[in-house]
Subunit: 349 residues, 2 copies
DNA sequence: GTGAAAGCGCTAACAG
DNA sequence: CTGTTAGCGCTTTCAC
């Protein structure tokens, strides 16, 4: 059933039917009722392509996922993020287009998306420290929102990010307050902007307490269980091993925990662990599993929020660059001391 | 740059340019070269919507993810699957549309997808035991491929599935051969078809060895770390606890491992564990982390294969229902005995 | 081998 | 308030 058929059935013009269905005010209330009833009856639903062609909008958003050889992004965080965003799109009648791209093809993919005109906006994932996409996206002129920030220090684009720097400074500070001096950092790949910021927070807090950073205590790698295990194992075999470990993801933390067990280290006694936890529903750590002290980020909410930002930018292209900096929650668990308790960081910009 | 502009630049008709670009044979070779060069030069790329409207095909595939309140599917398996499928689509010029849907809205979503005409086919995720979608999809008449199988026992549709029944029978048999008699099953939610099949395999092997199944040793729940922990903890407190545990996912297995540690049980000595491992790149278990014996499924390949099946069905609608039953690899690790070694199940239908 | 013209299903001026 | 008309950018007969 298409518009023409529907209009014939009703004995009306396509225009009137279209107007009735799209909520234009000039339509007679009775007529509108009739049209809507008929549309429902015949299960009419407008053809997306035709509508898009006529209006110039496609009611679709692209999510471009860089799936590097490091499998950095194709991780569970991504799945939850997508779920949140999808929810928002569904509510606003948008469709979500997913593109996965490997390394070199990236720029071409963005250009193609632009040229094909098949989406109204783009969500940018996994911004890197030196990310060529910033200039590219500005050149293309398609509305976009970045989940995270480009590491180039510039402003003037839309983004939503965790306060990674503060979160890791907070965690480091907490460990220092507990008396730790040898604190290891098992970080993500540091060409990713978020990882660089986390390291920055860690270093700043060491500096503030006049603790000299030890390169042997800082590692950077993929956020896998292996990497956590290997990194922790290496740390434990140092002449002066760490008394605390700060790690960048729950998955990595699982490996760290395995290494601890293998070395007979008791959590919260022989070793303290704090991990960043992206609050995956199937794997959430804090509270329910108080084995770790963790920094908590609700990824799913991020997906929702980023999507909402983009829809707003599409609706009002003139709105000033939108930015949101979110604070992580800090949960204290068994792994850093005897009594589980919950604090919450103050939310300051 | 659109087709008209490009054709004006070239001094040709839109028709010729279109034909040249789409590989129609009647175009002069020299003309074609010229056209292609110009297209590249001006970074021309056809408007998806217009092309779709004209051809009736949309060059897009929908993935509908049921995101139940149980967060059953929005898990890491899904992310890897999507990555594999996306790769295939990109290679064939297709776009991937993602819809997440919660429970009741499901049927309406499928109907809308059909009515809006915005995709050429659908990939169906997470088939359940009594899945209303089977009839619905057949009614809609859109090509579709199911990842997994509908539990209704019918044939006549396209699917790709693991041999879940055999995998779990195999694992059970292995444990029985090692001398275990009290084998627990920590299963996924059993309204999911795959979980029911796994239980079936487990039960059939117990039966074959005349071991009476004990309801207290069989649990079913979300595939989360909590569930693994809770289920294992409950099992350990039984009057007659199990000597071996068969579990349905790596995530759950992590919880089981935690419970083992908490109860002072040594893997491969006091307790044997076999888990199904979906071979997530960031969390793969077998080989590299020989703490478990595991059944291995390369989810990413499944994504690729399912996508290829669907594209084939779209291209040749008349091809007989396509089905693929894949066997899991079986890896023996530390958790069931002293020496890690690797076997591979025979592949029989 | 190339072009003119119609049409895919819809919206958006412009009339009335 | 409703209808007529002209596109949106592309493919596809049908002529030449």
């Amino acid at each position: 059933m298409n518009l023409r058929e529907l209009s014939r059935v009703l004995g009306l013009s396509q225009t009137t039917v279209s107007r009735a269905l799209n909520g234009y005010p000039e339509v007679n209330a009775a007529t509108r009722e009739r049209v809507q009833a008929a549309a429902r009856l015949h299960n009419y639903s407008p053809n997306t392509r035709a509508k898009g062609l006529a209006t110039g909008r496609s009611m679709a958003i692209a999510h471009v996922i860089p799936v590097s050889s490091h499998h950095e992004m194709m991780n569970p965080v991504f799945a939850d993020f997508i779920a949140g965003a999808g929810e928002t799109y569904a509510r606003h009648g948008y469709e979500m287009m997913l593109s996965v791209t490997a390394g070199r093809e990236e720029a071409k993919l963005y250009r193609d998306i632009r040229a094909r005109n098949s989406v109204d906006g783009i969500i940018v994932h996994a911004p890197r420290l030196n990310d060529g996409r910033h200039a590219l996206l500005d050149e293309l002129g398609l509305p976009y929102v970045v989940h995270g920030r480009f590491g180039d220090g510039t402003e003037g684009y839309n983004w939503l990010d965790m306060n990674n720097r503060r979160a890791f400074a907070r965690a480091t500070s907490f460990l220092i307050d507990l008396g730790h001096r040898r604190i290891a950092l098992i970080n993500g790949l540091e060409d990713m902007d978020f990882a660089a910021r986390r390291r920055g927070g860690y270093l700043s807090m060491l500096d503030q307490h006049s603790i000299a950073p030890d390169p042997a205590l800082m590692t950077s790698g993929e956020m896998t269980e292996f990497n956590g295990y290997d990194a922790a194992t290496a740390l434990f075999s140092l002449a002066a091993p760490p008394t605390a470990i700060l790690t960048s993801s729950m998955i990595t933390a699982m490996g760290v925990r395995r290494a601890c067990h293998d070395h007979g280290l008791r959590l919260g006694r022989d070793i303290s662990i704090i991990s960043h936890d992206d609050d995956l529903s199937y794997f959430r750590n804090s509270g329910a599993v108080p084995a770790f002290t963790s920094l908590l980020s609700p990824v799913r909410d991020h997906g929702r929020l980023v999507a909402e930002m983009l829809l707003r930018v599409i609706r009002e292209p003139s709105c000033a660059p939108l930015t949101q900096l979110l604070e992580a929650e800090f949960h204290v668990g068994l792994s850093t001391g005897p009594a589980p308790l919950t604090l919450r960081t103050a939310t300051q910009g």
